[in-house]
Every structure is written in C-alpha cells, then in structure tokens.
C-alpha cells in the first residue's frame, strides 16, 4: 500500500492562536481514516490546510509522495513554530497552490456547514463540478461546438445522481432538499470531480440514526466503487468506530493518539480529552 497523503509537522497559527500544532499523519491508499477530537481541536483547520484554503505556518503536505504544499515561518515566528528542525522546510521553494489546483490533483472535499450552490438545481450542482475537467475552451463552449462534451457531462451527471438516488430530485433547488439529502448531494458533487482522495467534513452531522446507518454503508460502497481513499472528520463515534481503518485524535491542535479503533478507544488520553480530566479541588 502506498502513501496517498502525508502531513509532515503541519502547524497553523492565527494571530496568537495555534489551531494545528505540529501535526504529522498519513493516509494510505484505499484506507478509511478518521480524524476526531473535541470541538475546536483543529480538525477543520487541518482540512483547510490540505485543500489549500489556508497556507500552513510551517510544515509540508505531500500527495502521492510529492510535496504539494510546503511552508516555513520566518523571523520571530520561526523561533516559535518551526519546532526542533527550524530549517527543515526552508530549503525548497514554497508552492502553496490555490484550492482549485489541489482539486485538480485528485483531492475533493465536502464542507462542515454544507456549501451547495444555492441558486442551482440538484442536477446543475453536480454538472458544475464537471466543468473543471472540460477540455473545450470558452469559444467552442459558447458556440456549442463542444456539445458532445456537454452531452457526456450530462450523462455522467445522470449516472452519478441515479447512483446516489437523487435522480428524482434533479430539478429541485439544491437548498430545498432535506438535510440528509443535501449532505449526499455534496458528496455526489465532490465525486463529480473524479477524486482519488475524498475528504468528508462531518458527513453525519445533523443526521438521524437511520440516516447515519445508511451513510456508513454508503461510504463503504462509494469507496469500493470509485476506488477512493477517505479521510473524514466525524463526531459520531459509532460511525467512526465501525468504518474507519485507523483513527487520529486531535486535542487543542495537537495529535494525542492514533491507531486502530480498538487502540484509540482504550487510550487514556483520548478518554480524558473527551470526558475531561477530574481536577483535584
């Protein structure tokens, strides 16, 4: 199994707050990995670093062995955040591509607070995500010279929507769907970019137990069908324990535990982080 994603000492700092502190982790091809931790532990920030929304203060992110993001702090920040090896990431030049380039590499994501295209139908939401892979230039697109490509995109969208059982809702406004369906649509939209690595940010949030059940098998299915690797943030412990191969636990921006579901479940630090440590009064 080969590494698909690797984070090397990633630190993200906003003003005085260190949201992610020296995080190193990796995801292997074909795995389902979960990133868990209490609210504000820095999970979404880590996602935003991976997808290029934020530029990490220090550290490197490697996709299939190649550094896609690499940054190092300078000046005063260097002393504070560069850790034991301050010059580790400063040798090569800083790349830091924009999020769209990272999506093109094959990393797609969903959002914690669902971000669908508000004014568009279910169908158009997915169709829009195919735009990235279009070969036609704007002229052939406007003059409909590339209509074969448009037809192919529509066909693929249909297949995807039928697969997610959203086809009957194709002409509904995306934001008028029930919550669970919106989450599904967001996953469908992410799949439309043909990713190899799928990042799911709290896919079960706001779902009822039955929907969560379905989601678990759904994630397994799409993983096999599209040969995906999945990295997800989730609070729903049942789900996490049932489907993930490995788990990383963050607390206050730092990694406190990692391992299989079983190992993590019995880890004292994880229990403390979730339940709180009894303080001596």
């Amino acid at each position: 199994m080969s590494r698909i994603l690797e984070l090397d000492s990633v630190t993200m700092q906003f003003g005085g707050v260190v949201a992610v502190n020296d995080l190193s982790m990796h995801v292997d091809e074909g795995e389902i990995v979960a990133l868990i931790g209490p609210n504000g532990a820095g999970k979404t920030t880590a996602f935003n670093c991976i997808t290029g929304v934020y530029e990490p203060t220090n550290g490197a992110i490697l996709y299939k062995g190649n550094a896609i993001i690499q940054n190092h702090p300078s000046g005063k920040m260097k002393r504070l955040y560069a850790g034991l090896e301050p010059d580790k990431f400063s040798s090569s030049k800083v790349l830091n591509p924009t999020p769209d380039k990272i999506t093109k590499l094959g990393i797609a994501r969903t959002f914690q607070n669902i971000r669908l295209f508000r004014s568009m139908t279910v169908f158009d939401n997915v169709l829009t995500a195919m735009h990235m892979r279009m070969n036609a230039g704007i002229f052939s697109d406007v003059f409909r010279i590339s209509h074969a490509e448009e037809a192919r995109m529509r066909e693929e969208t249909e297949v995807l929507l039928r697969r997610q059982s959203l086809w009957e809702l194709r002409d509904e406004l995306a934001t008028s769907l029930p919550y669970g369906k919106q989450r599904r649509l967001e996953i469908a939209r992410a799949l439309a970019t043909k990713p190899q690595l799928l990042l799911l940010d709290e896919p079960a949030a706001g779902m009822n137990p039955q929907e969560t059940q379905e989601l678990a098998s759904f994630i397994h299915e799409i993983k096999d069908e599209y040969s995906l690797t999945v990295l997800m943030i989730e609070h729903h412990m049942d789900l996490v324990m049932r489907i993930s191969d490995r788990i990383y636990v963050l607390d206050f921006g730092s990694l406190i535990a990692e391992g299989t579901p079983k190992e993590v479940q019995s880890d004292q630090r994880v229990i403390d982080a979730y339940l709180g440590v009894a303080e001596n009064v």
Binding site: F14, T44, N48, V53, F111
Partner: protein
C-alpha cells in the same frame, strides 16, 4: 528643501486646511464602514446638502441661529437616511445595501438639482472665517488657519467619546463583532443611528469650512470631496479614526501641492491639474492593491 517649503507655503497651508475638512468627512465613512461594512456612497452628498441648507437658511437667519440649525438638520438627514434606506436592508445581501446607498446619492443629487435649478449657489460669507490674514508672507483666509484646530479638537472629543463613554464602548463592540454584541444586549440600531448622526454632524462642520473657502455650492460639489475623503479613509485603514485623519491630511497636502504648480518629474504642476482627481483614484487603487488594510487597518481572516 526649505526653499521648496517656502515657495509652496500657501499650498501647504491650504493643503492642511483642505486635509482637515476631508478628515471630518472621512470620519463619517470610516465609522459607518467599521460598523456596517458599508461604503456610504451618499455621505458626500449629505455634505453637499449641508452646504445648500446653509445657503437657504442664511438668506433669512443670522449666523448665530443658522449655523447650529444647519448642523442639526444635517444630523437629522443622516439619521433619516439610515432609518429609511439602510435599516430595512440589514439582513439583505451586501450588494443590495450598496445599491441602496447609490440610490440615495442619486436621489440627493437630483433633489439638489431640482431645488437649485442646476445653478451654482453662492455660499454666504461668514464674517470671521472669511477674513484674510497674512502668515509668513502668504496671504490666506482665516478659515485656513482655523480648520486644522477645529478638526483636531473635534477628533479629540470624538476619541474621548469612543474611549470613555458607554455608547463609545458599544460602538467599539459592534464594530468588532456585530452578532455577538447583539447577543450581549447592545441595541444595535441605536448604535448605528448614533454613528450616522455623528458622521453627519462632522460632515456639516466640514461643509461650513469647505464652502467658505470655495464660495459656491452645486449639486455635484459633494461627490469629489466625498470621494477624496473616502480615499483618505481607505488609506488610513478603513475603520480607524486616527488613520482617516492622518490619511486626509496627507491627501489634502499632496493634492494642493500638485495643483499649486510644483514641478514633479520635470513637468510643471499645471500639466498635472487635469489629473488631480484621477490621481486620487490612482492612489486609492495602489493602496488597495499593495496594502488593502491601509496604514492602521486590521487584517481579517475569512472563516470557511
């Protein structure tokens, strides 16, 4: 250097004076932006309206009554504009609010056009301010000397207000975080109204000083000073009052030196005058691109 300064003394003086007037307008922009994140396009026109109101009032009333009255009416105008044109759109998208602001600006200008019949109105001579004086060999009007002092005094009062009164504290809280301060029980609408009233008050004072210098008011005479004040606010870091004041003084001085005929890059100033307005914009764009937070602005991070 000393020579340059001496030759251009009168331009320096009028630069400081105009800068003070811009500063008073700029505070209105910067305070409203700080709280509502809205470029109040109508602010320059409120300033123009203050000038026109003065023209009409002073025709029948002595200055002792008309001057306070102008200031009061302008404050009411600012209050009414916020109440009618901005408050109903509080939860609307930002673009709608800006369009509403443009609409108000259009309305005020057209109203002024209608009432004045499109003619430039002669601004009354306010005895004391219009008197001419000599300083170090440069002849100027009293208003030029008075303006910076009035500006600094008003800014000090305002700063005191914001630092040490309850309403000032509320303003600072609202500009920091709109929603949270609402949850904390601050009466948002009251704070916003007061912000508009203060902004309009200062614009009224600025109009007294500015139009005494320029002697006439037309329906569009608010747009250029308004824009320059806005540029000053952006330059100083929008949302920051000291920034706006310093930015305004810098812009006022630069503008007057360019106008005054100082030779820059070998081209005499007269060759640049057609560009004096365009320069302001060019300056604005450079500031926006190079340092969008201005001199004293704070950086904000978008939450994803």
């Amino acid at each position: 250097m000393v020579d340059f300064f001496h030759q251009n003394l009168s331009y320096f003086l009028s630069g400081i004076s105009v800068g003070g007037q811009y500063a008073l307008i700029a505070i209105g922009y910067t305070m409203v932006y700080g709280i509502l994140r809205l470029i109040n396009f109508a602010h320059g026109d409120v300033f123009m309206c203050a000038g026109l109101i003065m023209v009409y009032l002073s025709a029948s009333l002595p200055f002792a009554i008309s001057i306070p009255l102008v200031i009061a009416i302008t404050a009411v105008l600012g209050f009414v504009i916020e109440r009618v044109a901005y408050r109903p759109l509080r939860s609307a998208p930002r673009m709608s609010v800006m369009i509403s602001a443009i609409g108000v600006s259009y309305l005020l200008q057209n109203a002024a056009l209608y009432f004045t019949g499109g003619l430039a109105k002669v601004y009354p001579e306010i005895g004391f301010l219009s008197r001419s004086v000599d300083i170090w060999g440069a002849t100027t009007r009293m208003v030029t000397i008075v303006t910076p002092f009035v500006t600094v005094a008003l800014v000090l009062i305002l700063t005191f207000l914001i630092r040490h009164t309850k309403i000032g504290m509320a303003m600072r809280a609202v500009s920091r975080d709109f929603e949270t301060s609402q949850l904390m029980g601050i009466k948002i609408n009251r704070v916003i109204s007061i912000t508009f009233v203060i902004g309009s008050l200062l614009a009224a004072v600025a109009s007294l000083l500015y139009f005494t210098n320029y002697a006439s008011v037309t329906p569009t005479s608010g747009s250029m000073p308004g824009l320059k004040a806005f540029v000053a606010a952006v330059f100083g870091g929008i949302g920051s009052i000291p920034g706006a004041v310093i930015g305004a003084f810098i812009i006022g001085i630069c503008e007057n030196i360019i106008k005054g005929g100082a030779s820059i890059f070998g081209i005499p100033g007269s060759g640049w005058t057609t560009f004096s307005d365009a320069f302001t914009f060019a300056f604005l764009i450079i500031v926006l691109i190079v340092k969008p937070t201005g001199l004293f602005g704070e950086k904000s991070v978008d939450k994803v």
